[in-house]
Symmetry: C2
Subunit: 289 residues, 2 copies
């Protein structure tokens, strides 16, 4: 997805939030904003939002000496989700179609975000959302058809915490279908996106081979991904890409059996997807669009 | 009030909204955003938000050949308020203290804004707000004390439509106190701020001498105001300045008996005033703060 003009104010707000989470001084925050504005003025028209977010967060990390400002937030999110994993899994197992229920749960877990405005404040609100996902355009039949024929799946994860929901989905999928699973996480700290250590801490690594995108972008921008990731991406029979960042980076790319599972978190993506903010949606990629 | 870093994203959103209201093409909107970012990068640290808004709107008017993009919006707002003027006035007259009720009404009318996010969508919602003002820190006693001793008042108006509420206040004030009234409106089109033609259309000119700030800024930035305005400002026994733009431009200036009457429309001003968004507040200036 290209960067729309409506994304510009959002990038400044995002950079300011991130700078504050990183503990930058006001003059450093101002330098971050000036840097973002310089990038926005000079950017190529086809640049995607995750490319810009990558630049913004690199600059913030440089200013903080390379530390990961979201480390504690991610640990808290993993902890919270692990503490309710069993009860969520039980609900999914008791649903009439556990695999579909797990897909909806995994989509709802995309609410655990730090980028655009969060739609929940307390753990209770989050749990309520996970149990009552606000769905729209949920193409589960198309995805299940593809999965039935597939031998392997590449699952491109998004956030820490959220991957506990992904783990529930993949454990049920693995039980119901004879499919090889590869889970891709980000190659370096970026926002609250899941890295290898989050995959290990939450135990999703026990369900499939864990690789990384090889990049510190908050979305799998193919031109910046490692050869290992690209080989997995190109040879996967099915790809499920979680979250808005992966949607923004991958929508319209050549891959046929690629599905986006996300919560829509801003008006720009809502318009792009023909839905509204807050909805959990599952869409098949439309190559070349 | 200085421009806070939180104002930066808001300026881009504001510029984009204004560009769209003015009917600019996408590439023109992009030029507006680039221009705003250039200004923000180069601005003096003490520049106030209305100074930046002035620059943004000048640029948009240049691009549209000098037309006023808010002309129709202002006419509609004047029409709406004139259509309910009599019923609002009747309610105020029937209140136990009509002058205080009129002050609250005039404050509530500041909801008729086009700058930051509007807190109403339909005329019904607006009327409900006008009749049930959400007040906080309403220093009416201090203002009434000053007015009782004063011989003349300078009333610095804010928006079109809103000035019908100002007119109701000034008519009751004039009846209850022997005071000379001067009403200042903006010197040129800027946002939906009231100009001389709005003063005449709504009949507020029948209650006092109408002057202008001599400027196209959406707030009375003293360094940009005309000599006529400055003389009125300096010699006025009491000044009432309406709206967030006038607050941002004038708070902390040397004038002693200066009162701000506004609806708080963003988190930055809310913090600056120690209140919360949406509140209608009346505050005495604190010179030098």
């Amino acid at each position: 997805m290209k960067t729309y003009l409506d994304c510009y104010p959002c990038f400044l707000r995002h950079g300011l939030d991130a700078g504050r989470i990183a503990g930058l001084s006001e003059s450093q925050q101002k330098r971050v904003l000036n840097g973002i504005m310089k990038v926005l003025q000079e950017m190529q028209p086809e640049a995607t939002p995750p490319e810009l977010a990558q630049i913004i967060h690199r600059r913030i990390r440089e200013m903080t000496g390379g530390a990961d400002p979201y480390k504690e937030i991610k640990e808290e999110q993993n902890r919270l989700m692990l503490s309710i994993e069993e009860s969520l899994k039980k609900e999914v197992e008791e649903a009439p179609r556990p695999l579909v229920a797990a897909l909806k749960l995994a989509g709802a877990c995309n609410a655990i975000d730090m980028g655009p405005t969060r739609t929940w404040k307390t753990p209770e609100e989050l749990i309520h959302q996970l149990r009552n996902p606000n769905l729209d355009h949920f193409e589960e039949r198309q995805l299940l058809d593809c999965l039935t024929k597939a031998r392997n799946l590449l699952y491109v994860a998004d956030n820490a915490g959220e991957i506990v929901g992904d783990k529930i989905l993949l454990s049920i999928l693995k039980r119901e279908m004879p499919i090889d699973i590869t889970v891709a996480v980000r190659g370096a700290p970026i926002l609250n996106d899941a890295n290898v250590e989050d995959a290990i801490k939450t135990g999703i690594d026990r369900l499939g081979n864990v690789i990384t995108t090889g990049s510190d972008a908050p979305g799998a921008i193919l031109s910046g991904c490692s050869q290992d990731f690209m080989e997995n991406f190109e040879t996967a029979d099915v790809v499920i890409a979680k979250g808005q960042g992966n949607y923004e980076a991958l929508e319209g790319c050549k891959k046929e059996d690629l599905f986006f599972l996300l919560q829509v978190k801003c008006g720009v993506v809502a318009r792009d997807l023909g839905t509204s903010e807050g909805k959990i949606t599952l869409r098949k990629n439309r190559p070349g669009l």
